[in-house]
Point group: C3
Amino acid sequence: MFPKNAWYVAATADELNAKPLGRMICGERIVFFRGLENRVAALEDFCPHRGAPLSLGFVKEGRLVCGYHGLEMGCEGKTLGMPGQRVQGFPAIRSYPVEERYGFIWVWPGEAGLADTNTIPVQDWYGNPEWAFGGGLYHINCDYRLMVDNLMDLTHETYVHANSIGQREIDETPCKTAVDGDRVVTSRFMSSVEPPPFWQLALRGNHLADDVLVDRWQVCRFSPPSNVMIEVGVAHLGHDGYNAPDEHKVSSIVTDFITPETETSIWYFWGMARKFKPDDEALTAAIREGQAKIFSEDLEMLERQQKNLTLWPQRKLLKLNIDTGGIQSRKVIDRWLVAEGQTPETNA
Amino acid sequence: MFPKNAWYVAATADELNAKPLGRMICGERIVFFRGLENRVAALEDFCPHRGAPLSLGFVKEGRLVCGYHGLEMGCEGKTLGMPGQRVQGFPAIRSYPVEERYGFIWVWPGEAGLADTNTIPVQDWYGNPEWAFGGGLYHINCDYRLMVDNLMDLTHETYVHANSIGQREIDETPCKTAVDGDRVVTSRFMSSVEPPPFWQLALRGNHLADDVLVDRWQVCRFSPPSNVMIEVGVAHLGHDGYNAPDEHKVSSIVTDFITPETETSIWYFWGMARKFKPDDEALTAAIREGQAKIFSEDLEMLERQQKNLTLWPQRKLLKLNIDTGGIQSRKVIDRWLVAEGQTPETNA
Amino acid sequence: MFPKNAWYVAATADELNAKPLGRMICGERIVFFRGLENRVAALEDFCPHRGAPLSLGFVKEGRLVCGYHGLEMGCEGKTLGMPGQRVQGFPAIRSYPVEERYGFIWVWPGEAGLADTNTIPVQDWYGNPEWAFGGGLYHINCDYRLMVDNLMDLTHETYVHANSIGQREIDETPCKTAVDGDRVVTSRFMSSVEPPPFWQLALRGNHLADDVLVDRWQVCRFSPPSNVMIEVGVAHLGHDGYNAPDEHKVSSIVTDFITPETETSIWYFWGMARKFKPDDEALTAAIREGQAKIFSEDLEMLERQQKNLTLWPQRKLLKLNIDTGGIQSRKVIDRWLVAEGQTPETNA
């Protein structure tokens, strides 16, 4: 159960090259391809002729050619031709609003008339030479909301990521959640802690001492349908923490775009945008590798959690203070579902 | 949904040796074995004693012995003995009409009383020293009719088999379909074309120039329940094409026996009988290898097409001129289904 | 369909070390762990906080700590703490009666109030220095009663285990079945036979001639819910067979604890306790390896038998003399099912 009238990340821009890409988004089987001038198009992945997946075809002169019998499909879903056949009367197949922006392909799986590209979440850092970005994609068999919960409550770092970003002080420092319309922010500020291994790596990457006490912060920002941007960082003690000048801290934005594939599976686009040493590609690679490992630690937990919830569908989960961020985020999602005429489940 | 009162190829003759063979045919789990004098028998693959699959057993003195407790089964499905036990009263299990002919094991999964071995489709080339044959077996997860469609419309060669037998002129040359009772014939004759790589191989194999223009033909002959024999060949230009004398052409019959395993999976027995250089075993192997590669290119397309049709069951497919052969073949199948009391699906 | 008010082997004692173990028993997803002083506990494998499997966590000071957010669970299913959170009001999760005995972890998946550790089947040989034991665990996709049938009718040895313990005389020698309350005993005594390969190995292991005629016995003892202990052995001819003094025979108890995982899958704990050369560890290993190979031969047969029974649910199986042991055992199981308010299937 997911909002369909929303922009979701369908792919990274570099996943979509000369060949079409088939991917299920929110239960819709969609083919993405680049038409004339590399403009992205998104259509039902179903050739109107005999039902072959168009994603097995190829692109020729801006048209998507079916790989079975050569039907040529335009970017809006109209059949434009087929060698030796009359196809003018073919009904169009469904096309989806789609936009390439911020290094991603965004798709709107719901009612096309409601799509407004102005509502794609702005990524300030993108294209700014002071910033660098690295990221990746995981496929995970869980409800997308379990991943929202995961990211809006970082106490799990102490347990799931004990050897990289977890530390005792996360458990010990209460977090604060604020709701502003459809936005939910959960913040935690830790004072005078030892930087855990991942942050030691980042400090060294920015040529800062990694064996001194730091202030550390985590500001998780949820926006619907299922985006979580997390400001994270550490600053050498005595420089005003979160507000420290750049030369005393390392700070990043963890970007999480969570796209439902089905009710119980997701495409998880994770990444980290950082505002230090943006030209250091080895550092980008090292951070990306570290983050890939950390996020892979969540996979088994989330998939096994999903299996448990599927097995015990009637069980009510319990809600603690630390869950407030996830709970408030789910309330926003529920409002979006209701606005679309869907009836949210009562149990979460 | 398939006719059950029909002969289907269950196996190649050499698949069935001293060991029994278990295979599902038209939804029936069947064990095939060779009894006395190598005569083939076909029974339910279910030991009446405790339900073990008889195909895990062995053959001894013409009887199929269950590999679990030694029950001995006769070729007609009667229990003939069991060490130390009284089994005379055991009810017989089902036996199926079965016949070894033309290098294949044919089985009749429907009403036994209606089976007439005279209706097994004659294979003229078989046993004729002027002909050679090579073939193979693929298991494909698709409705058997998708394979009939595939073979009765060869325009797909241009796209799916672009590097072997496909060529632009297939698209450009209209085909003609004729129906004669239960038989459907779709023909395409191309004049003055370059032979594509597979036919160059065949020309060389017959010691003919492969770098000259040829006439090329494809005559697809459907007969129910799901057999498609395709006369294919090329002749050097100026020798009357299809009717050219043997020394100026290479011609073959592509044999396709399509046996439903379930509603959405098939055993696909493909092969090629050729009337040139029959004793050249290296040529037989080279042609077989080429054909195996070509036919393997259809697998992904057919399986993905099936998945799409399963996902969108309500979608009507569209029918073009090129689909006439498949459509007419499906009409024949539908008549057979009605004759058996089945109700064909309206959508194809 | 299995009795739930019964002790089942859930694991071998050495499977459960410092880490918790998740395993489904009789349809219940259970986490096993060792609390203070290594005492075993068994709980629902479901964290009451967010539904994560507790088996992904770890044990700390006798508590099971959830690996997701650190909830601490006591051995009785009560939440005892969580860093920084108030969890006193959490409802308890289900705990299961559990007992470590005879080298196994026994669990009672039914009504806890009915569990009495005195009903765990006594293993006389355990802890006795005159005996040695080796065993293993197989997961098999079949109804647990198919394995009971298998073990209560050893005529299958002639077919399934032809190269190790099977021999013609098993088929030829009738067995005798006796029922005493809930216990079923099927016996077969063979006189003056050649020892098959496995028994030759055992004879040599006990420094006895392996090329002479022997008396051989098999006494299969079923007790509910699904335990089968089989006295097996061979004695040199002329020493009174089963009653021969130890120096003229090799004798063992095959131990079979069959634990349903689901309706159609089992955890099969097999082993062999022997009363000769108990200190010869190489012999223990050789016997264990031989038995592992023998029992693995049953796997395919049982899984394929299960598939057949699932495909033909309406088919009645037939009952022969050799099946009496299994049939009587199933009658006991049915009485237990009825006593729990379950309605046994009529077909077996």
